[in-house]
């Protein structure tokens, strides 16, 4: 009985997700977006999904995810440019190298908490940015980025436009399914326990460090995957792919959506990209508006849009709820 209903709920969840993902290209223009924006949104949603596994579940705020995205993009772009148009080869190699780097960075940065972790991840990402800019410009194209990438192919099929959209959509669906399985697994439970009380977990017989490193690695793989897709989709890798502003944008998307909810950050990514598209057409101050929106969320709605319904419910039912629940808020 229970097994069936659980399975059914999972299937319905994925079905709805699939419908939304694969209809975006046609629904978006109705809202004033352009159809290619849908592909972009899906690529970014893979990126923030991975980010959410690390930050949303374990609470380790990384300011360096641009590194994984950017390295994935550069390697995929480089392979497409010089070796083969086979997208799978480029993606596999890109993700492989990103995972090695993510693993090593995780081992170094995860020894520290909070602010140290944020700064260290930021520093590493900046290091890669400056490496790409000057010392490695022979391979990265320096300031110009990687240009002239040929349209990638999947078994002879040219991936652009609709074909690329479907290809990305499939990856988004896989990413969402995997992320959800991770979140609901015993492993995901441990990650949430890390966020809640890391020390208790250590004294419950758990090697917290290894769990964190694996979370960092998974997160990096998602970001790397998204980066490779980005390079293939844009057939161009700008240097900004490694810049801290991208790391910041990932943070902004996740906060607006709501950390730890998976769907939330995906929505956050869509919202930010949509607003960027619509607003930057009418005003130059788009980034200022984004900053204000972000700050408002941090201050007034830290749970993001995903907590909106809960907040509203609390607001309207305030007089019916007995007061005894409220005092426990700050007790920990």
């Amino acid at each position: 009985m229970k097994k069936q209903s659980l399975f059914a709920r999972d299937s319905i969840y994925m079905l709805i997700a699939a419908i939304v993902i694969f209809s975006l290209r046609w629904t978006l223009p109705l809202l004033g977006g352009y159809s290619e924006l849908a592909t972009r949104m899906l690529i970014f949603s893979i990126l923030v999904l991975g980010f959410d596994i690390l930050v949303g579940l374990t609470g380790y705020l990384s300011f360096g995810h641009a590194a994984f995205w950017g390295i994935g993009a550069y390697i995929c772009g480089y392979i497409l440019l010089h070796f083969t148009q086979n997208i799978l080869v480029a993606m596999i190699l890109g993700v492989l190298i990103v995972s090695i780097i993510a693993f090593l960075l995780g081992i170094i940065t995860l020894r520290r908490h909070g602010i140290y972790f944020a700064i260290l991840t930021l520093a590493f990402a900046e290091m890669f940015y400056y490496l790409a800019l000057a010392p490695l410009q022979k391979w990265t194209g320096g300031d110009n980025g990687l240009t002239g990438i040929k349209t990638p192919q999947l078994f002879g099929l040219e991936l652009s436009g609709l074909a690329m959209y479907i290809f990305v959509g499939i990856w988004t669906l896989i990413a969402l399914y995997t992320a959800r399985r991770i979140k609901n697994s015993p492993y995901g439970l441990m990650l949430r326990a890390i966020k809640s009380n890391e020390e208790r977990l250590t004294f419950t017989g758990i090697n917290v460090f290894r769990y964190k490193v694996m979370a960092f690695l998974i997160s990096g793989i998602f970001a790397g995957l998204a980066g490779t897709l980005f390079a293939a989709y844009e057939t161009y890798v700008p240097t900004e792919s490694l810049h801290w502003t991208l790391s910041g944008e990932i943070v902004i998307m996740s906060v607006i959506g709501g950390f730890g909810t998976l769907i939330g950050p995906m929505m956050g990514a869509a919202i930010v990209l949509y607003l960027e598209n619509v607003l930057s057409a009418i005003t130059d101050q788009w980034n200022l508006i984004l900053g204000v929106i972000f700050m408002s969320f941090v201050i007034f709605l830290p749970g993001g849009v995903m907590s909106l319904s809960k907040q509203l419910r609390r607001l309207f039912s305030r007089d019916q709820v007995p007061a005894n629940r409220t005092e426990s808020q700050g007790g920990d």
Partner: protein, 289 residues
């Protein structure tokens, strides 16, 4: 490398380090006493620079030297009362997020007001032409930066060592709980600390502006290395911030000569190596973070 070349490079390293030191001192003061990681500190540097540019071009450098530190002290107080105070007790992540958000807003406001391009920020007339300092010609402005930083650092250490305010700050940096036990008006103490931190950032801004020129991204560009300086020196350690800042400056200046390819990466490399070998930083206390 000749002696004079070496000496000039040493001076440049000290000058680059001096700016880091000023920004890092504010960061570490605020982190040490309030426990707040201020991602908007680079923005304060930038405000100092733009403010200095406006005042010096309208009223002259004398007024700029007076008004920028005072103004930034005020900005810091506003910043603490208006925003930071609500985040003292919130998780570090929230503090990072909210100050990061503020940094973006300030950066974008600067872009709106001053435009996105690099602004030239001329130093005072007398400080522009390189002068003979015995072993070569050197821009006086850079010497000013070093001298002012030395004075500021000495004043800060005197303030902390010999005044009641300093005693309270030191007590707070060693053990934040202690401030409460000593019956100190923590609110006022914290506000003044943020004001001081902002003032140092402002001084760094008005001096760094002419040395490097300014643009809206200058704040963030200064934040990352300064934060690394703080982390390398040991979070909450003032001596650590000074020494690490100077080391970083020297590393940058000498890498330009010896390994130009990595000169922009050198601070990150140094940071990574230090933190792998000594995770708590050079002068850090075990157990923090």
């Amino acid at each position: 490398m000749s002696f004079s070349q070496f000496a000039l490079q040493l001076l440049t390293g000290l000058q680059i380090g001096a700016i880091y030191v000023l920004v890092a001192l504010g960061l570490t003061l605020i982190f040490g006493t309030l426990g707040v990681a201020n991602f908007a500190h680079g923005a304060l540097y930038m405000i100092g620079a733009y403010f200095g540019l406006v005042v010096s071009s309208q009223l002259g450098w004398g007024w700029a030297a007076l008004l920028v530190p005072l103004g930034l002290f005020g900005v810091g107080i506003l910043f603490d009362r208006g925003l930071l105070q609500f985040f003292y007790k919130r998780p570090v992540t929230d503090q990072i997020l909210v100050t990061f958000g503020l940094a973006i807003i300030i950066q974008e406001l600067a872009r709106t007001i001053f435009g996105g391009t690099t602004k030239p920020f001329p130093a005072p007339q007398w400080a522009r032409i390189p002068v003979d300092i015995g072993f070569g010609y050197y821009p006086p402005w850079r010497l000013v930066i070093i001298a002012v930083t030395i004075i500021v650092v000495i004043l800060l250490f005197i303030l902390l060592r010999y005044t009641k305010f300093g005693l309270m700050v030191r007590a707070g940096m060693r053990d934040p709980e202690m401030v409460r036990y000593l019956g100190i008006d923590a609110t006022r103490l914290f506000t003044i600390v943020v004001g001081l931190g902002a003032m140092f950032a402002g001084v760094a801004g008005i001096m760094g502006g002419p040395a490097y020129s300014i643009e809206p991204g200058s704040g963030m560009a200064m934040l990352v290395p300064s934060f690394l300086v703080v982390v390398i020196g040991g979070m909450g350690s003032l001596v650590g911030a000074v020494i690490a800042g100077l080391l970083m400056g020297l590393a940058v200046s000498f890498s330009v000569i010896f390994v130009p390819a990595v000169s922009q990466v050198i601070i990150y490399l140094v940071a990574v190596i230090v933190l792998i070998v000594r995770p708590r930083g050079l002068f850090g206390v075990e157990g923090i973070g």
